[in-house]
């Protein structure tokens, strides 16, 4: 059994919280005491049924305002899969929260209100899904009960959306007509939507195939920690501990250590008291090399047959996440894998109006702005273009005055 991580994009008005609540409720993922609290709450739907949206409301301030203001994580499982939902707010002022939730998602559910069709926010959410390279997209056309479960309404929305998907290079899209309020096609197939022959949302989530990049030429191991017991019996033990971010390593693989460029061969792979034949993407291991070379935290071990780019002048997409705007005169920190170095934003190429997808040349990066920049780092980063290998292409910017994470970078290419 594996884990599927997905994000739900949409606003309160689209019935996003109700959809998640319905998914949890109908798949029996709600426990008795939570259910008791739910029944005790005085928030009800107009027809007197329980308001399932309450299940996903986290913080007190949010309960008071009735809105989701931060990413909340929810867990449930079926016999086929385990699920982690990143429930992100959909409003434009919370773009950074959605970017955060999207960064680890394998799949995105984008909600469209059947009465309103494709709207500005649909474009925005799709742009973010494309920017963050989420593998799979589900368009849940919700509130079908409010449009008499009309097939024409659904088909028109599909046609409209395909234009956006084409523009944004989103290739893997599944469309499902649903009513979260009534439970149509969420967990159980709908009898009211007999013209729809596809899977219910849950059935789709259970079966959709998600791939991990295990190609050996993409093998990347950012070194987190050097294990050196220095005891009498383990005098020469020197293991490099880290989590394989992409690709796979085997004993006898020729590897290169970056940024130094030293090469060696893997002599042993350990996972505590076992020695797996192969270290696959996602595994936390300790590797040993044949040669005694100087390696420390922040270095990355890669397969010599497929080295990443090594550069200190890099073009990247940037999402700004702080209320203090970007200041090109400041020195920031950039954290990429296990390496943190100083950096400057050397150039702002353009911004994107994420509602219309038009380029904008206003030179001012404020909270939630997204665009393209060139960064200059104090030491070179060993990265892959985010669009090709997101596990080694994402980085964050930290304001060294406040220590807060202020930007997300999707690295594109060296421009040295």
């Amino acid at each position: 059994m594996d884990i599927l991580k997905f994000i739900t994009a949409g606003s309160v008005d689209d019935g996003k919280s109700t959809l998640i609540g319905r998914l949890l409720y109908d798949s029996d993922a709600i426990l008795a005491d939570q259910l008791e609290a739910l029944h005790a709450s005085n928030r009800k739907n107009d027809d007197g049924t329980i308001d399932l949206a309450i299940l996903t409301d986290g913080l007190k301030a949010e309960r008071e305002q009735g809105i989701t203001i931060d990413v909340a994580y929810k867990y449930f499982e079926t016999d086929k899969r385990k699920f982690i939902i990143a429930d992100a707010p959909g409003h434009i002022q919370y773009t950074r929260n959605m970017v955060t939730g999207a960064s680890n998602a394998d799949l995105a559910i984008i909600l469209i209100d059947a009465r309103r069709g494709v709207v500005e926010q649909t474009t925005r959410h799709s742009f973010l899904v494309s920017l963050l390279q989420i593998q799979k997209v589900v368009i849940a056309v919700n509130k079908m009960d409010m449009v008499d479960y009309s097939e024409d309404v659904f088909n028109n929305i599909v046609a409209d959306y395909q234009k956006i998907a084409a523009k944004l290079n989103i290739s893997d899209v599944t469309f499902i007509p649903v009513s979260a309020l009534k439970g149509d096609n969420i967990v159980y197939p709908s009898t009211a939507i007999s013209w729809y022959k596809g899977d219910s949302l849950l059935h789709h989530l259970e079966n959709v195939e998600i791939n991990r990049d295990n190609a050996s030429t993409h093998a990347r191991l950012p070194v987190q920690w050097v294990v050196r017991p220095q005891t009498d019996e383990l005098h020469d033990y020197r293991g490099y501990a880290g989590r394989v971010s992409s690709g796979s390593f085997k004993v006898n693989d020729k590897v290169t250590v970056l940024p130094s460029g030293f090469t060696s061969t893997i002599s042993k792979i350990e996972l505590y008291d076992t020695q797996p034949a192969e270290a696959l993407a996602g595994m936390s291991v300790t590797v040993h090399l044949k040669d005694n070379i100087d390696i420390s935290r922040g270095d990355i071990i890669v397969n010599s047959a497929g080295e990443p780019q090594l550069s200190s002048v890099i073009e990247a997409d940037l999402c700004w996440m702080d209320t203090r705007g970007l200041d090109t005169s400041l020195t920031y920190l950039v954290q990429h894998n296990t390496k943190t170095v100083r950096c400057k934003i050397r150039e702002m190429l353009h911004k994107v109006n994420i509602n219309t997808l038009e380029k904008d040349f206003d030179e001012d990066f404020k909270l939630n702005d997204i665009g393209r920049v060139v960064i200059k780092t104090a030491e070179p980063l060993a990265f892959d273009p985010y669009q090709e290998n997101k596990a080694n292409g994402g980085a964050v910017i930290i304001d060294s005055r406040t220590n807060v994470t202020v930007g997300a970078l999707m690295l594109r290419q060296s421009v040295e």
Binding site: Y73, N97, V99, I210, N403
Partner: protein, 301 residues
């Protein structure tokens, strides 16, 4: 279904090991908060996997309310002897003796609230800059929004509105002097995941997790272990019951559940069928809907 992805327990384990190693790599003086409960016992096991054959790059810290299940203390001491790592104990009794906190009185008196002070005091005295804890996001809805690296100010407070964005697997542990970070490596595990992992890895647990006979009283609809730490009066009827505990906390606030689960397999099927979530068995969360959030803001881990 795809075949090139890790099994969920391997995935969760690998993520937790990665987080523990990030703590080791990013902080000067981390600590692992050890309560004697199954979640922190799991953390210790994960730390063995992250750092052996080397030593842990942090001590274990236990905040002792003095109102412990004796089985927990016994387990703790045996475990420390087995793994050969350092243990630091912060005593709530010391905080009371120093006049820093005042013992509660009345029928529902508990030292549970007092341990927040002792924890913050222990962090300050030892200069810890990161404290690893076993909290999980599935426990309670205020925890659903907690970061893996959660920054606390010098008063130990969590500010839900000023959380740092946390993207991919990049954890920003940069802090100012006086601040510290709480780190939750098993954030993405559910209660059942922890149990399945304990079974798979054969991790020993304190005996109170398994069904046993015990003198109990019923209070506020919940079964509490009769003990000298619980203020009892003539209304309290002591009954011998077959129970086990789903969490291990202070004796005055940890409720038992009626159970005949003597083996780990029994527990797993009991939980899988169960209709009460784990924190539902803790009286301290029953106070109000926003109880957990308030306590987190105040520095409770």
């Amino acid at each position: 279904m795809s075949t090139n992805r890790l099994d969920y327990l391997d995935e969760l384990e690998a993520e937790a090991i990665y987080i523990l190693r990030e703590v080791a790599g990013q902080f000067e003086k981390p600590a692992l908060l050890f309560s004697g409960g199954k979640d922190s016992i799991t953390l210790v096991h994960l730390a063995l996997k992250a750092f052996r054959p080397g030593k842990f790059p942090f001590p274990l810290v236990h905040i002792d309310t003095g109102h412990n299940f004796e089985e927990t203390i016994q387990y703790r001491d045996e475990m420390i002897a087995r793994i050969g790592e350092k243990l630091i104990v912060g005593h709530v009794q010391d905080s009371i003796d120093e006049g820093k906190v005042i013992e509660q009185t009345g029928k529902n008196a508990s030292r549970n609230a007092l341990q927040t002070f002792t924890l913050l005091d222990t962090i300050a005295k030892n200069g810890f800059d990161a404290c690893i804890g076993g909290a999980r996001r599935d426990e309670e809805k205020a925890r659903a929004k907690e970061r893996i690296f959660s920054v606390r100010d010098e008063f130990g407070q969590w500010d839900p509105k000023r959380q740092r964005p946390e993207l991919w697997n990049i954890y920003n542990g940069k802090i100012h002097k006086g601040e510290n970070v709480r780190v939750f490596p098993i954030s993405n595990w559910t209660e059942l995941d922890v149990w399945n992992y304990i079974r798979r890895e054969n991790i020993p647990l304190p005996t109170i997790y398994f069904a046993h006979q015990r003198d109990c009283i019923t209070r506020n609809g919940q079964l509490m272990a009769a003990s000298p730490f619980l203020n009892m009066d003539e209304e309290d009827v002591v009954e011998r019951r077959n129970v086990r505990f789903r969490t291990v906390g202070d004796m005055t606030c940890t409720a038992a559940v009626e159970s005949y689960a003597f083996e780990i397999d029994d527990i797993i099927s009991e939980i899988a069928d169960s209709k009460i979530s784990e924190r539902g068995a803790r009286m301290d969360d029953k106070v109000s809907e926003a109880a957990m959030e308030e306590r987190k803001k105040g520095g409770y881990f």
